[in-house]
């Protein structure tokens, strides 16, 4: 259980740090991390200084100062990377968290419906899952993103604009559904044939009752095991989409968009891309450790 505790502790620290982002921005960095600061100065030097050597081409942002403001330097817009890192973490974690919740809910509904009802419903739903399963995840996510960020999505009265965080949540929530739904369906199928459920049927239990009392409790622990893993995948995919500039849209920032910003500076100011990359790595690692430990504890309980 040591690994589990360590993982949870790291996650807690990351979440707490990200929650305190506004405090950091206002008290320590004292700049607006969402406003371009092209002509500003810090510590007596320009935040974005035009190069003077040779032909004098290009502009170099202020580097890591290791002081309060611009702790990790500035990006190409002259914004404080450290403050944006914290704000970006909020976005990334929020998106990954909501996407995971959405994915698990959809997966349970589809998996249980498909496995429990059976018949035509099962054929249709299983076919749908097969289809999503065979559609390579990144291709599906990228295709959906390209369509949805270039126009507003209208779902009845609900209108999602391109810069809404709900879009990446929705996309990431959908693409990983088969990964969870297929095992759940298999589990429910197996359970349906299990003796104690047949016994419950025989004693006149309503399907809803059987579902609540006998089926859901069985799939619950496995489902919780999926949560950190799906969230880890969602974090990575969000970052990938944002790096390809089809994920989170400006002015919002996520770790992925920070890596994208940093790529434009990787040769002169590598910290701008390295820092958010490390943040993703650390968070995903912690999630995977927790997921691993949970699954291990399940096995020992059996």
């Amino acid at each position: 259980m040591g690994a589990m505790r360590a993982g949870v502790a790291v996650l807690a620290v990351i979440v707490l740090a990200c929650l305190l982002a506004p405090l950091y921005a206002s008290q320590v960095s004292e700049t607006d991390p969402f406003r371009s600061n092209v002509n500003g100065t810090a510590f007596g030097q320009e935040v974005l200084a035009e190069n003077t050597a040779g032909l004098g081409l290009g502009v170099t942002p202020i580097g890591p100062t290791w002081r309060g403001a611009y702790l990790l330097g500035a990006d190409t817009q002259g914004r404080d990377v450290a403050a944006r890192l914290l704000y970006g973490g909020r976005t990334s974690l929020l998106i990954a968290g909501c996407a995971t919740a959405l994915c698990l809910v959809l997966a349970v509904v589809l998996g249980v419906l498909s496995g429990f009802v059976g018949g035509t419903v099962d054929t249709v739903l299983a076919g749908l899952l097969d289809l999503l399963w065979a559609f390579p995840v990144y291709l599906l996510a990228i295709s959906l993103s390209i369509v949805l960020i270039s126009q507003d999505l209208r779902l009845g009265p609900l209108r999602l604009t391109a810069d809404s965080l709900a879009l990446p949540m929705l996309i990431l929530g959908i693409v990983y559904v088969p990964y969870v739904a297929r095992p759940i369906r298999a589990q429910v199928l197996a359970l349906r044939r299990a003796e104690f459920i047949e016994a419950a049927h025989a004693t006149g239990g309503t399907p809803l009752h059987i579902l609540r009392r006998h089926v859901l409790p069985q799939i619950w622990p496995g489902l919780i095991g999926f949560a950190p893993v799906v969230m880890a995948m969602a974090l990575l995919t969000e970052a990938a989409l944002s790096v390809l500039s089809i994920g989170v849209q400006a002015p919002q920032a996520s770790w992925g968009t920070l890596i994208a910003d940093g790529q434009a500076l990787i040769y002169t100011r590598p910290t701008v891309a390295v820092a958010p990359g490390l943040a993703v790595l650390l968070t995903v690692l912690a999630l995977n450790v927790v997921g691993e430990a949970w699954r291990a504890s399940l096995e020992t309980r059996r």
Partner: protein
Amino acid sequence: MITRLLRSLLVMFGISVLVFLIFFATPGADPAARLAGRGASAEALAAVRHEYGLDRSLPVQYGLLMHRLFIAGDLTSQVNRGQRVVPAVLRAAPVTLSLAAGAAVVWLLAGLAIGLVAAAREGSVWDRAVTALGLVGISIPVFWLGEVVNLLTQSRLHDTWAFRWVPPLGYVPLFQDPAGWARGLLLPWLTLALLYAGVYGRVLRSSLIEAYRQDYIRTARAKGISESRVVLRHALRNALVVVVALFGLDIGALIGGGTLLTEVVFGLRGIGKLTYDALQNLDLPVVMATVLYASFFVVLANAAVDAVQAALDPRQR
């Protein structure tokens, strides 16, 4: 077998319809103005639209597209006029295949070593280090790792002895220059393999440990068969069933273009890069061809895994 084939075809048909619909839901997807050129007259636009059948109904357009892709084989790009789609896919395929196959060799060997070491010394420092490596491997954003590798080997440390040999980004065909091919792909292989090596090592480790506990292995040991033969003959063979399933699905997805991010970062013009560029340009014919190509391999891999597993594991027969 027949039902399986039908199912697979149905899945691929569903994907093609999905791609088609996604495409037509995208604003600005009408390629006529891009094909006709800047500032073209209304007459020129109409001519292009007619030439490409864009003035027909959606089902007809879908049918035409499929006919030209699979039957006539003369489907052309909607961005680069006259560029045949099928040859473009066929030319990109070896790049992706080289990348995926090379990386697979690396991760299988690394995974095997990791698994054997960790299983032999269960609970030791080695075992834990290997487990940790596996977790780190699946937690690294691959495009970011690729960027960092490029930063170090192409720029920061390029002039040091360690990385002077690193060629510029890009792909050199195997038959043109085998050494150049391997040199250019080595770093992409390692980058991609890092994602998988740990996972395979851990899967192998746990199935080996499970196998060690099985009765027949204990018997073999008790009979005095040497340790290495026990591992090779019995335990590994058992663990292989799990690995084959995993490997089939992974390699299928990768060959189909799952290497997209790695290809983009390392400037390799494979299926993934082709798909990505086509998606960026909203080049429907190319997107359709590459997505179907990718899903074909996923479907094929699924079928192959089932068959191989049945052959390896008598219990499933």
